[in-house]
Symmetry: C2
Amino acid sequence: METPVKPDHTAATTVNFSEPRKFTTTLRSDLKETFFPDDPFSRFRGEEKPLLRLKKGVEYFVPIFEWLPKYNLRLFRFDLIAGLTITSLAIPQGISYAKLANVPPIIGLYSSFVPPLIYSVFGDSKHIAVGTVAACSLLIAETIGKVVSPVTDPTLYLHLVFTTAFVTGIFQTLLGFLRLGVLVDFLSHSTITGFMGGTATIICLQQLKGFLGMKHFTTKTNAVSVVHAIVHYRHEWRWESALVGVIFLIFLQFTRYLKQKKPKLFWVSAMAPMVVVIVGCVFAYLIHGTEHGIQTVGELKKGINPLSIEYLNFDSRYLPAVMKAGIITGFVALAEGIAIGRSFAIMNNLQVDGNKEMIAFGFMNIIGSFTSCYLTTGPFSKTAVNYNAGAKTAMSNIIMAVFMALTLRFLAPLFSHTPLVALSAIIMSAMLGLINYDEAIHLFKVDKFDFFICMAGFFGVVFVSMDVGLMLSVGLGVLRALLYVARPASCKLGKIQNSMLYRDTEQYPGTTTVPGILVLQLGSPIYFANCNYIRERILRWIREEQANSSSEGNVIEHVLLDLTGVTTIDVTGIETLVDVRRSLDAKGIKMAIVNPRLKVMEKFIQSHFIDKIGKENFHLSVEEAVDACQFSLHKSKQNGDVSAEQPIVVDGSVI
Amino acid sequence: METPVKPDHTAATTVNFSEPRKFTTTLRSDLKETFFPDDPFSRFRGEEKPLLRLKKGVEYFVPIFEWLPKYNLRLFRFDLIAGLTITSLAIPQGISYAKLANVPPIIGLYSSFVPPLIYSVFGDSKHIAVGTVAACSLLIAETIGKVVSPVTDPTLYLHLVFTTAFVTGIFQTLLGFLRLGVLVDFLSHSTITGFMGGTATIICLQQLKGFLGMKHFTTKTNAVSVVHAIVHYRHEWRWESALVGVIFLIFLQFTRYLKQKKPKLFWVSAMAPMVVVIVGCVFAYLIHGTEHGIQTVGELKKGINPLSIEYLNFDSRYLPAVMKAGIITGFVALAEGIAIGRSFAIMNNLQVDGNKEMIAFGFMNIIGSFTSCYLTTGPFSKTAVNYNAGAKTAMSNIIMAVFMALTLRFLAPLFSHTPLVALSAIIMSAMLGLINYDEAIHLFKVDKFDFFICMAGFFGVVFVSMDVGLMLSVGLGVLRALLYVARPASCKLGKIQNSMLYRDTEQYPGTTTVPGILVLQLGSPIYFANCNYIRERILRWIREEQANSSSEGNVIEHVLLDLTGVTTIDVTGIETLVDVRRSLDAKGIKMAIVNPRLKVMEKFIQSHFIDKIGKENFHLSVEEAVDACQFSLHKSKQNGDVSAEQPIVVDGSVI
């Protein structure tokens, strides 16, 4: 598209000094970029008919209205198979993770009935399969277990777990409505890799309890406590249990290996946990396992979710722990659910609205907490299975919910014979897949700081506790983000031979510089947190340059600051540039600004910086600026200009 | 200087794909930029003779060795006058601020004897005058007053104040040694303006107690409590006191006004507080003020600082409050001292090493806490007076210390007659100068967010408490810093008429674009906290562009990402670019990278991103990239290339 050309040529070949945009314009643009970068309303804002607009609006906020009318039998066939596959995974995982959270196993099954239904109504992703997750289950057990014992007061403990899910739901919904999806972005990939790896490690260690058929154990999650407990209660070890466990684990790992070798056989590994549970049940039932040290899950009542809304407990004694557990698990669950939803969406060139997803997750947890469910999200493993099994829409979640309801209504008591060791093998196998060595090695190779963030998360979780590990890793990530802006890169530019391009002299060693002119490129916003650094750095560039060039008899007369990479500037930043100019003036060096961007130019105009520096010292490109300086150098030499000819005192202790 | 030119021409006209620098090289460079941006050791690293090097090293770490040998009588004449002037200010201010901190007035005088001596040995600034400050005095009173009452247990309270100074000293020294000066940079100019304004407001309100000669008052500092106390104890109001106070205040404000009109008369306003104290003493002595409701300071013992090292109290009951007070006041004191030192240094083209200053302030407070002093720093007002009075070196601090010692030894008891109302007038007059309306208006005009940060500090201090106000304001500043990196600016580039420059189309409305080619400029680092935003934003640019151009029949075939402004990238950022490429591929759009900077290129190579994208898709300049794309467009049209001719489906719900 050919934009119409202004007749005024001068406006296009010099820096644009026109009046800044209005405050309301910039504010609206800033708010939009901050909270609505994906422009979610564009799809129905353009619609002119009010009714159609309303319809599109409802479809946007409640996605099921969008996809259900277009639903057909062909899609249903895919979703049915996927739904069945994830149900067969949901049952053993539900029971296992409920044990991890120290709640009755039936709660794990309940949690795969109501929440998937809610998600299928409000959720945006077509691939997410809803369910409980190991990391959050353990986090809840760790945090709530500190204030109420799940052994001596299981009822109160359970009610607090429901309340935690409620807090999580409210928190997630709020984040979504306030469009604070950006907060979740601060859980970086490195943090998640480290945290997940650490969590998987401690969960694996914990499963040794089930593997060895032990009855006593520690409630702490860190590696030292767990290993100590295992050694301390070594008289409780049962070889029968361990043998069964190892066999199950080998089987599960083999199916995983098979999936890796032949991705089409993914369903073998998806079904494997169910097979382990069934074989385990039959085996335990036949040999009367409990008499041989093989403990079983125990009583599982028939019937679908009872209401639990009246059990929500906001007692001020427990509220701090509940709030903490709710918010931290809410964060982790969002990070996991949104990340996985996004990855599959990207693979299929779809768009997932993170903030809308948060609201869907929030609703799902609020209503879950009313109906005897604990925290659910879109787990990595289950979602991957759902996707591989061919799920096309959120219908697969509805199908899972229906099958789960049938299971709860008719089959639940059968699972009471499941041996704990089978659950431990299932958990351990799942966790071994979450320890991502390759990713850690990749991080080490590409970015040492990312690797450090990852390791801080890993070791924090393994040796201290899950929340400490997570916060440590996130804290380091934020620190890095702050350092990026506190220490922005700057470089010296030189001209590339046979071209008119000015590039970093370190990156392109063949560049040439003009004697007497120093071109510096600054990057990142210039503002309070980095302005001292920038001032020091510019003065150091000049000092270093003078130290190099003094032997050759040249002194710097012009410093050009290329602001192409400077996205914005604040009041302190502008004052810094004024200070720099004053310092340079005192040394007889002239300063010029090259290519300030829109926002920077607006601030320059508003703060009258332009008037202080002079319009003639603003240039549109480095080349033009260098030409102007060369002209002035030439002129000053011809005229024998005193100020330019005067030798400038280079004194390291003064500059 | 003409850099030698490589014979290899190809290396200079394409992007440099050579191997990344070694990890140790980049680490050393990063650490240097983070902790030693001012390259402090350069001055003696170059020295070859070991003895001379040692001498220069000692001179660097203990600046008095540098300036004292060169000291002469001419400099001494200047410093003597400045020293006398700041002594005359130090006595009334010392007594006043000690009252503000609820410690005996003599402590304020002690604090102007030992700390200036220490600073003159280790301090780097030639202009700072050491002394106590109002804001920190009140902050200490507020924080320590919460755990121990200065009225019922004054001895313990005083010991905790010494301990606070000790904690401050250790904290400041540590920050300096760890080269964490960057932390102080997070106290932005806006924060300091707001915090100082708020503090000045509540201190003025508090002085109404002294003005009105009241005996009862609140210990809280917020405006509501103070106004309530004033009204509540209105039966204690004494008109005599108020009358004297108003007269003093008018006199002090008049001298300030005089200074503003005729800057040469600065000494009048510098001496005025001393005049008020002397006149007040004489007046109170003559009329027996206490009988007329004019309270006086009371007993002041002769003699210089007694040792207080044995009084430092680390009782665990009080330690949290002491730590909190020590660290917060340490921060504020550093921010004030370093900022003022730096401003005068810049004015005189000198350099002040922030980290070294921290160590000097730290030593001064540690030794101060051993010798009955409380927190000292380089206050704005006193330093300005010192500078205006002609101080040339830190000798003026030594002279002040000598005069202060003489005062303590011989004259202290005279000041016991000082009326409290005189002190209140002195404090109030000083505080009125700290409420910087002009700066707030300037902030409002130039940057609304800076103004908001400032106002948050102001109202937080006035209506809640000093620490809350400070943290709120700093928190908003950090949030903004994070938003800068979480929402980096991006823009669409177009070619400026009659040139080969590509610039922001919004900033330069006359630019033209090539049909089918979209050039986007990204800014700031690309990394975990902004990669989702960047992905969404690039896709939105394309969507918007296609919505505009579809009516004209052009579809986008090339997207060029100009990374000139991208200073660095992390692992998540690289993955994002891979994702973007995949999304574009699916739409039949080709992606190319323009001018990646050194660090970014290194990461690209390490992560094998180059291999994924293909070297042919890297360009050194936008112009070159556009030429390459135009060539490919031309070719595809000529050859009737199917993939390029195929109309691309533009579907808002899918993109």
